[in-house]
């Protein structure tokens, strides 16, 4: 990037480029669900295998290989939860401010920081993690190449010399897309089950 930027670029920066379409105040459009993909069918097995492989990449900190399994139009978010009474009509899921609100560029940047920098003091020494992914239910969508998949994740995390684990559970609403015969992650919304996160940070991907 040139050190001296033209003024119109600067004002763009201040006005913020509308074409980035960053505003996500409401729930993302739920893909219109088609037929359920039956448990144990060949396609279901392929989806399950995607998650098994993905968990291994993430737990082995092969994050740049993981990034290669993401589509470039990725939307990666993690809403917040605000405790409300049962009768309150307002949802306890909050998307105006979230824990993650990332695209392919920023997720790649986070992955580079976690893998390329020796100075990533949040994760050097890095936590030992284990992701347990279960309860996978999948549907076809109106788009022939896209599948809507719900899964549960239990992320166990042990840090340094601590004798204890910290853990996070979430429901993941994913869109997987078939690209050149392989499944890629196009959309992930991890709805974490905590309102006050019991961890000092959550730089680990869910």
């Amino acid at each position: 990037m040139a050190l001296v930027e033209p003024l119109d670029r600067l004002h763009d920066g201040c006005r913020v480029m509308a074409q980035e379409k960053t505003l996500r105040p409401e729930a993302p459009a739920t893909p219109s669900l088609g037929d359920k993909i039956r448990y144990g069918s060949p396609l279901y097995n392929e989806i399950a295998e995607f998650y098994i492989d993905e968990a291994l990449l993430l737990d082995d900190n092969r994050l740049l290989e993981w990034v290669a399994t993401l589509t470039e139009d990725l939307v990666y978010t993690a809403p917040m939860r605000v405790t409300r009474m049962n009768e309150d009509p307002v949802s306890d899921i909050v998307r105006s401010v979230q824990h993650f609100d990332d695209n392919f560029t920023t997720i790649s940047l986070r992955a580079r920081r976690l893998t390329e920098s020796r100075n990533v003091w949040a994760e050097n020494p890095r936590a030992r993690t284990r992701r347990f992914v279960s309860n996978v239910s999948a549907h076809h969508t109106a788009k022939q190449d896209e599948l809507a998949v719900v899964s549960y994740v239990l992320l166990m995390r042990n840090k340094a010399e601590s004798p204890n684990y910290t853990f996070v559970t979430a429901r993941r609403n994913d869109v997987l897309r078939l690209v050149d015969g392989k499944l890629k992650l196009a959309r992930r919304e991890s709805i974490i089950d905590m309102s006050v996160l019991g961890v000092p940070h959550l730089v680990t991907f869910l």
């Binding site: 050190l3 379409k21 505003l23 405790t83 920081r113 949040a122 961890v199 940070h201 730089v203």
Partner: protein, 465 residues
Amino acid sequence: MTGNQHMRNGTTLPDGTKIEDLVRKQTQEVMLRVYDDQDLHDLEMQKVFARSWLLLGHESEIPNPGDFVTRNMGSDPVIVARTTDGAIHVSLNVCTHRGMRVALPAAGNTRMFRCVYHGWTFRLDGQFTGAPVASEQMHGNILEASQLGLKQARVTLYAGFVFASWNIDGPSLDEFLGDMKFYLDTIFARSDRGIEVCGPPQRFIVDANWKIASEQFACDGYHVLSLHQSTRELGLRGRPETLDPRTLAGLYAVEVADNGHSLRCVNAAQYYERAAAPVDDPDPMVQLSILPPVGFTPEMVPQLPKHLSLGQLQLLAKSAPSIGSIFPNSALICIYRPKLGGFLTPMMCIHTFVPLGRGRFEFINWFLAEREAPPEMKAEMVRAGILFMGTTGMVESDDAETWPHIQANAAGAMSRQQTIKYQALAGENKPSDWPGGGAVYAGFSKDDTQWRWWNRWTDFMTDAV
């Protein structure tokens, strides 16, 4: 806890240690023990948290009558509620009957608070309205209904921020903020419609004493070079290959402090150079129209002179207050960051570090924007904030990982007697044309403002204020 006893011999812990032994003014050292001492913590709840003004949130979180959020003032739960006349009340969230929490959720809207235990009810302003089975007068006949309301904190709004204090007859919020208000106005009180929160705050737990985070935000710029080195490696703080200190992290700056609060005012020349703009134009509005304040659009810039003095405009144009702390436990960040594939991204956050016992605090992180800013700009500010700050932030995750290690060390038999040091002092050196008040330190970010933070803490702990 024998509060009155402590008030009488205010500066001495049960083992005979005086506050002055912990914060050593002669050598500018603080004993590490201050982070892990139950007696000290209990004293702090009374002497610091029950007597300071505490930032609890922003009025835009509860825009409608009946809206409320629950928060903490030190170790005490409170309800921040908007009444039907639009006023904001802060009530102790403790039923006057048997001590139950009268508001259970984090947020909601209600006509009244009804304790679930026996059903006593309270208005939004905390007034007691009745106990079930009125025919039996279940609140007795010793106290009047007017004496049974929820305990009320004193409330003052500043730029929409809700500040509350139990020190009912103490200094006003204006007096408490002192000379810092001049600087804070340039961030929070400079536009026609003011600022607002972009949503509820992020909340997470750090196993560390609240003071570790609070004193860091009292302008510890120095740690950025080491702890946040990874963001520089990634090219997110100027070009990685340059060692120009102005682009390093804004560490050659002007730090200002008063009453324990402090702010780092960052030289804007680095941005102007990148924008090929005049660095030294005598008219601040020329520069501000080229580089609007963080969170402003170019179209909003003409509003500035309506709200700010010439001195404040000069400050905003040349050395905008950017990062700092509001004593005792709040912090703010209002900065431009290099934009990915673009020029600059504005971001604005407020933090509070709420003590949960001596070794743990809740980190509360609000994202802010100018109310008038277009929605896309607000969204971009939130996204930038999420990327760098708070729960998943590439900057603050490094801080949150570091603080618990300090906390663990403060428990060691030898370690707790070691001191933390604030011996790199620049001394006050206010530039002759500096427009604001307070103690002013120009140059590299040193220990002065953090040392002032500890002195203010000492003043509270020894009843000197």
